[in-house]
Amino acid sequence: MMDGFGERGQEKLKQAKVFIAGAGGLGSSISIYLAVAGVGQIRIVDRDVVELSNLNRQILHWDKDIARGKAESAGEKLQQMNSDIKIEVIAEDITEDNILKLVGDCQLIVDAMDNFPTRYLLNKAALKRNIPLFHGSVYGLDGMASTIIPGETACLRCMFPEPPPSATFPVVGVTPGIIGCIQATEVIKHIVGIGELLRNRLLVWDGLSTKFRELTVKKDPHCQDCGSR
């Protein structure tokens, strides 16, 4: 027995429409759990092709998918996991010009990207549309997650005013599994309307010490993205 979930919760999941930016490591675990949870419509955007080096963590893509588009590969697996839901795949770059069109009428955005310029675009789109953004990021055995509610919580830019340098990053395969599952948990709770979200809370996963820590983040009144909101 779980208060607030039940049939009504399942119906809310069925009616939900979510946008997942990225079908890599985070995108794999997030989309798998949202698909099997019964989220009615999942739109997943990724323009990359599957490479051998992705297979240690991007569990939606298999050996046979190397050189195939990630969006197509992800769509095939997710649809086989749950044939009752609608999966839309888009093999496009996310840009300032197309992002609002890509997000369309989705009610929330999941940040499963691998670079900060695109993460900031997702942040701006979430602010503009006034819809939540579910952030997750990883490096090595470490990761972070937080849930951004426009107008209410710190935005991504308040939390992270400067991007780290763009470089290749080591990732141990389980890390995006852990962080992606936290993001998917947040999305399900938000849709169903239960529990407490990671509002103004940055959850920090320290895989080297096997510790979760929680840091309080604050809206920055001078934030270049949400400062006037």
């Binding site: 990883v138 470490d142 710190a154 005013p161 780290p164 940055l202």
Partner: protein, 92 residues
């Protein structure tokens, strides 16, 4: 007074340690503590984290005092203050 400093994620990887305790004779600000931390481990940190010429961390460093985000380097520290340093992570 004594301040406990914790290094998260990439900062920890480069510093080669999970953190350090800093003993101080006088009360100091967060900015002054960071200069002391930089003097001790700055040579291990990449240039995008620690600016050795100006003896300062770059703006991308995320600072938390007693687990709360702080942006003001003039933030005062007290005996027993816990300072955490992190950076944003790219990977997905």
């Amino acid at each position: 007074m004594r301040v406990e400093v914790t290094f998260f994620n990439i900062v920890r990887y480069y510093a080669g340690m999970p953190g350090m305790e800093v003993e101080l004779s006088d009360a100091i600000t967060l900015g002054e503590l960071l200069q002391e931390v930089g003097r001790r481990v700055g040579d291990k940190l990449p240039v995008w984290m620690w600016d050795s010429q100006n003896q300062a961390f770059h703006r991308g460093i995320l600072m938390f005092v007693n687990n709360e985000q702080v942006r003001d380097l003039a933030h005062p520290l007290h005996d027993g203050s816990q300072v955490s340093l992190s950076v944003s992570l790219s990977g997905g």
